[in-house]
Symmetry: C2
Subunit: 144 residues, 2 copies
DNA sequence: CTGCCACTTCAAGTCCACTTGAGGTCAAGG
DNA sequence: CCTTGACCTCAAGTGGACTTGAAGTGGCAG
């Protein structure tokens, strides 16, 4: 298969080329040469980028993801790490579910002001108690 | 009820006083005076801080939360905004559930390398397709 | 051969919610 | 009265993942 230049990889992966350069600098991907100034990549890089996307979606940092690749480029992920992350996702999901239920209720609640609704006050107390605490950070939008 | 100084509010709310000052600067809370240098707060501030915590947990930015308080200090939250956020949480929850299932499987998968497992490859493809894309940002821990 | 223009590098900027540091001030205890 | 120590202010720094800007360069159309 033919090598891809950075623009093609960008198009195929949906990532801006600045991000690809950034990933290369962070040793998440590697270019295999140049055509003029332009980086060339093995088509394998697309799979690798998907894997990186998966890791990001699962909440791993770029540094952690970098550590999941052996120097030879192979994937070598610690299964315990995966299980731990799955557990954490479970907790997050439970937290978010409680939150969603509370918000849904508050949105439909007939009480004239939210603070007059017992359910809403319970939700607020739950948040205060830390049961719901950590902020899930809104999905950052990227420019294309 | 007696007014609380910033140290008491900090102790009762669990927030560092630097954060309380920061919130005041951002007009999320208001102090009602001083005792010497020390800020004094109406005990109501505790409820308000809980509400702020809830907003944060639900993924609202501090600026958005600030807009939920009328100038008179009352809560006036747009119910459509709540419903919209609940919907977004729903999507996030579904996304995270798929991810958790995939990770759980990968953690238990008998395939010697992850990339040899069809389920894992499907998960990777799902991530690549953007179905799972946005990163949920790990829960940041705060120093006490 | 020349110019264009998209790529390149490197440094710096952005966003958000805080946190930290330097230097100042005030109430209270001795 | 004087020290102490915890608060105060204001400015700057942090972290993660990019994004943006300025200045340089090489392939290719004309």
């Amino acid at each position: 298969m033919k090598d891809l230049d950075i623009v093609e990889v960008s198009r195929l992966s949906g990532l801006p080329s600045a991000t690809l350069r950034f990933y290369e600098e962070k040793r998440l991907i590697a270019s295999i040469g140049r055509r003029g100034l332009r980086r060339l990549f093995d088509p394998d890089v697309l799979g690798r980028l998907s894997l990186i996307g998966l890791g990001r979606a699962a909440g791993f940092s770029l540094d952690e993801i970098a550590r999941m690749f052996a120097p030879d480029g192979r994937v070598r992920i610690d299964r315990r790490m995966l299980a731990a992350r799955a557990d954490e996702l479970d907790r997050t999901i439970r937290r978010l579910s409680a939150l969603r239920n509370g918000l849904r209720h508050a949105a439909d609640c007939p009480a004239p002001r939210h603070m007059e609704c017992p359910k809403f006050r319970r939700l607020v107390r739950a948040a205060a108690s830390g049961a719901i605490a950590p902020p899930p950070k809104r999905t950052p939008q990227r420019k294309t």
